[in-house]
């Protein structure tokens, strides 16, 4: 079941000059949300923003009926969104997409930049299911690291920064944790990173789940604008995905 409802902004937390986390209150009981699912946000007040904007669900708090979103400012819609204030309401279509397939006993999560957004909630779900997880996060520098405490409490956190200001210096793909054994890898971030990680997974012969951020007009399967080439032909990223087994994707 999908909903189209107003949430109330509880908090708009600035992480860096172009990264912020919105905590949103749902006025009713939250439906079940899978890690990796996303919302479609109606951005108001900017005349150049016509369509909704897809944003992954960063975290879910069922007790408080709150969700949080981690957003990077890249253009007019996300910029407008960054100015939203406590108490404002925000219309969302949710929850959308397939979510991650949860498998194995010991898994690795790899996140790059703000692409890591859906991984926080995934670590929470994994922990509840008693699946051991390591999470490797790559970002520009220590200032771009977010939700560190939460990650640490839910998973084993490993960090790679471009400038070495935290964790190892370099790309996530050079991190030693990748040499360990896992039952599956879950990866979110820039496409080149996801491709590199899925290649590593392929070599290890384990499944790698990636999250695609194709441009979307509807987000719930009806416009066919968001397709990705899979082994079975063009599939909708918004409903068949956004999470795909990398081996199912033609370009991966």
């Amino acid at each position: 079941m999908k909903y189209c409802k107003d949430f109330i902004v509880v908090e708009n937390q600035t992480i860096t000059s172009n990264l912020f986390i919105l905590k949103l209150q749902y006025p009713e009981t939250l439906p079940e949300i899978k890690a990796g699912q996303f919302v479609e946000i109606l951005v108001e007040g900017n005349k150049d923003v016509f369509l909704r904007r897809p944003i992954s669900i960063h975290d879910v708090d069922y007790k408080k009926n709150q969700i949080s979103l981690l957003v990077q400012i890249v253009g007019k819609g996300t910029d407008k969104l960054s100015n939203i204030k406590e108490g404002d309401s925000l219309n969302l279509i949710f929850p959308l997409g397939n979510g991650f397939t949860i498998i194995g006993k010991k898994v690795l999560l790899v996140g790059g930049g703000c692409g890591a957004a859906p991984l926080l909630y995934l670590t929470r779900v994994l922990k509840e299911k008693n699946i051991k997880s390591d999470i490797l996060v790559g970002c520009r520098d220590i200032n771009h690291l977010f939700s560190k405490k939460e990650y640490e409490s839910l998973s084993n956190l490993h960090i790679a920064t471009e400038d070495g200001s935290c964790g190892i210096k370099g790309l996530v793909t050079t991190h030693k944790i990748l040499e360990e054994e896992f039952d599956a890898i879950y990866c979110c971030g820039p496409t080149p990173m996801m491709k590199a990680i899925s290649k590593i997974a392929k070599d290890k012969n384990i499944p790698c789940y990636v999250s695609l951020e194709h441009t979307m007009a509807c987000g719930f399967g009806v416009c066919l604008c968001c397709v990705v080439e899979t082994n079975k032909g063009n599939e909708r990223t918004c409903t068949t995905g956004p999470i795909f087994l990398s081996s199912d994707l033609k370009d991966f």
């Binding site: 016509f50 979307m216 007009a217 509807c218 009806v222």
Partner: protein, 305 residues
């Protein structure tokens, strides 16, 4: 809540619509995707996705670009073909309690005829919408929709094999839409729907690349409403068969505007992406408009401009 406002009932040939609000092809899937948001039986009808003779993969990604008050798409008729529709999809939608119309596309007269003939056998499909106006496929319908002779030919051929309600969807990308409309009416079309998308293009200035894989695509949304209203108005003055107005309808006021210039029914397209409950809201909004203006029947304001 089911709308039972009798003032809204309209007819397109033999098809009775409980109200003029339909959905535009390619923007409403096969209808059931909207069941979480609205009661489908509150609508006058739904027009499902373009159906062609065989399976089509459509165009490569990226297929859409946002524009001012609108969007471009280059889906390119992706669908699994008419046989898959008849065998699989039909069963999923046949019991939806509203008029289910299939949008029919093709690259040749034979393909249009084949699809129409097969759909003619489906009991619960009271009509088809012949898409002779899709700008998004190389050998697609647009060539048929921009030449009065070709338009007439394809309609004539389909009319022979299709005996239920035949709607023909027109392109605005022409010098004279009236000329095409008359040609199509002359060959026995029961209704005309308009407009399909305007041929447009969008560019990413920073990356210096077109935003669509196909470079050009179809423009829809409020940006095209003035063009759509003009087309409906021009054709309504010259043709007798009912017109279905399409283009940038975002609320009940927009729908009323189309009815005022001569539309019998309307289709809501891109607006479904922004508010998936909009169609049902439009139905109620039209009722409210009639209340407010003390209008006894929707037909009393049809074409009064």
């Amino acid at each position: 809540m089911k709308n039972t406002d009798k003032r809204l009932e309209v007819r397109i040939k033999d098809m009775v619509l409980r109200n003029p609000v339909m959905t535009a092809s390619g923007t409403f899937g096969y209808g059931y995707d909207f069941e979480d948001f609205i009661n489908l039986d509150s609508l006058g009808g739904i027009v499902v996705k373009a159906t062609t003779g065989g399976n089509r993969e459509g165009n490569p990604y990226p297929r859409m670009a946002e524009t001012n008050s609108g969007m471009l798409n280059a889906v390119g008729l992706q669908n699994k073909g008419v046989d898959y529709f008849c065998e699989t999809i039909y069963n999923k939608i046949k019991d939806i309690n509203t008029n289910k119309i299939v949008n029919v596309s093709g690259s040749s007269i034979e393909e249009y005829v084949e699809v129409a003939e097969k759909l003619n056998k489906l009991e619960n499909i009271p009509g088809i919408e012949l898409n002779i106006s899709c700008p998004n496929v190389k050998q697609g319908g647009m060539a048929f929709g921009t030449d009065p002779k070709m338009a007439a030919e394809v309609v004539k051929a389909v009319r022979k094999v299709y005996n239920k309600t035949l709607i023909v969807k027109l392109s605005p990308n022409v010098t004279s839409i009236v000329e095409i409309a008359k040609a199509v009416e002359g060959e026995g079309a029961d209704s005309l729907s308009m407009i399909n998308t305007l041929l447009g293009m969008a560019v990413d200035a920073e990356k210096r690349k077109p935003l669509l894989s196909t470079i050009t695509g179809g423009l829809s949304g409020p940006a095209v409403k003035p063009v759509a209203l003009r087309c409906v108005w021009q054709v309504a003055k010259q043709c007798k068969i009912p017109i279905i107005g399409i283009g940038g309808i975002m609320d009940a006021t927009d729908a009323i505007e189309f009815i005022l210039v001569g539309a019998t029914a309307i289709e809501v397209g891109t607006a479904n992406f922004i508010n998936p409950a909009i169609t049902e809201e439009i139905v109620h909004g039209i009722s409210e408009y009639l209340d407010r203006h003390n209008i006894k029947n929707i037909s009393d304001i049809r074409g009064i401009i």
